[in-house]
Subunit: 293 residues, 2 copies
């Protein structure tokens, strides 16, 4: 069920952090055909992904043209449109993701997109799984291991469930090929507001617990069915579900947190690992758009 | 009192999101002279600020050289060094700020910087003050109007006080000139994890309260001595204080939230407004470095 804000005025709205204004931009004309909105943390990665989608869709740019970062004047996010696909970065952490989501949900509503799907592709720390494994999140948990995200509305805590669409998860799992040299699994994801203390790292600027206490905590996290830890999924699951948007999170793991804290992959390894969720989402987009292999 | 993590190994640490590694980079040689670390949300704004600081310090680049984004290979933040000043963007929201702070605090520690000062220059919504006013934060508040930030450490809530250094605040207020065509005031700042519901905007993708309820909430916020609302100060105040780093937040206000929600400044107005905290911080840097006008 959609709970989109009924107080909105589609004729006069300013999507401030995207730099779109409904008085100036005809969003239906610009984005009415959008079917999939792909998001990831870094602007650089989402520009690479935009080019990958161009290749998948068989788009070739006319000589002398290049992909435009459509929100560059707002200086907050980087945003590309490739036919029915948007590739946009969400920055790091749930507040940055939250701003983007509010404005993207308004954008697809004003543009009258038909049942758009929002996908986050990310990187994460794994728990007891082989580094390089891709995790498709079913339930997202907050830092206190609860299966919801605590919104604060006018000063009051409002928990909303952080679960993803079951059919979409299965549809994504089916995009895994037996020929892939990595695993794709379904599991819980913990989304934290901090990379160091909240995730139990002992190498933050401040840290007042021991290695043993950390391992005890991580095992407790693992006991909840949580396979990986990142910084966006809890809010992402809760806000999209609440607004009635189908969504999924697909993250590759860089390390096994039960083995250590430091991410020490080389530049080339990082690029290969980051391409794994992109490969799966590329296949998903082909299926959605009914493009033959 | 400094509470820097005693488990750190300065010989072998990877500042992952900055792309510096103490095994490869001699941080003391690179950054030992740093006195002031200036931060702001957008990468674009911090690049402009880096050039402004060059002008203030009388630095002229040799022909054929340009300022380098020193962390560009990590694809997370944009980072410039101009003599004893660093200009770096922190993205949007406290989690993004938190990652930067952990790694910047480790950087200035490893580099043996002498009593470095961290400054955040930002934009915000005002409460009952003229748009364009610059607010220097004394106390920062969370979304529930408490004067602390709730860290979550190994699953447990750990509140730490969110107050800024009183002497530094006065030092900054003294940088205001009677010739400036804008006000600089001291006041409380509320830092939220969301731009829409937590700040009482009625134009988010979801919103289930009325204009009247919003105004009641904003007046309650105002009653706490809070002059402006943004998305970083609570964590920034709490983590720097805890680590023993002197810090300050200086934000310009774009609007008066008691009058409306939408930020509708023009591009040129935005640039002029954003230059106000930069002007004050430029004077502060001159005072710290004892550079004559």
């Amino acid at each position: 069920m959609s709970r989109i804000n009924k107080q909105l005025n589609p004729e006069n709205d300013n999507l401030f952090h995207l730099g779109f204004n409904t008085k100036i931009h005809n969003l239906e004309e610009m984005f009415g055909d959008v079917r999939v909105v792909c998001m990831g943390g870094s602007a650089h990665r989402m520009e690479i992904f935009a080019h990958y989608i161009m290749k998948i869709l068989g788009h070739k740019l006319p000589t002398g043209l290049k992909l435009e970062d459509m929100t560059c004047k707002a200086h907050r996010y980087s945003f590309y449109k490739i036919g029915p696909v948007i590739s946009v970065n969400h920055g790091m952490g749930m507040p940055s993701m939250s701003i983007l989501l509010h404005e993207m949900i308004k954008l697809v509503t004003y543009a009258k997109c038909k049942d758009p799907i929002f996908i986050r592709m990310g990187t994460s720390g794994g728990l007891g799984i082989k580094p390089g494994t891709v995790v498709v999140t079913d339930n997202a948990f907050n830092e206190s291991l609860e299966n919801h995200y605590d919104f604060v509305v006018l000063g009051e805590r409002v928990p909303r469930p952080a679960v993803f669409d079951k059919n979409l998860i299965n549809y994504i799992l089916d995009c895994h090929s037996t020929k892939d040299h990595f695993e794709v699994i379904k599991g819980g994801t913990m989304g934290t507001n901090d990379f160091y203390e909240a995730q139990g790292r002992t190498d933050g600027a401040v840290c007042e617990y021991t290695e043993e206490q950390k391992i005890m905590f991580l095992k407790k996290v693992q006991g909840k069915g949580i396979k990986n830890i990142e910084m966006e999924s809890t809010l992402f699951a809760a806000l999209t579900k609440y607004a009635g948007i189908r969504a999924a999170t697909i993250c590759v793991t860089f390390i096994d947190r039960l083995e250590g804290d430091k991410v020490s992959v080389t530049h080339d390894e990082k690029i290969e690992l980051e391409s794994r969720p992109q490969l799966i989402v590329g296949r998903l987009i082909k299926k959605i758009l009914k493009i033959e292999e």
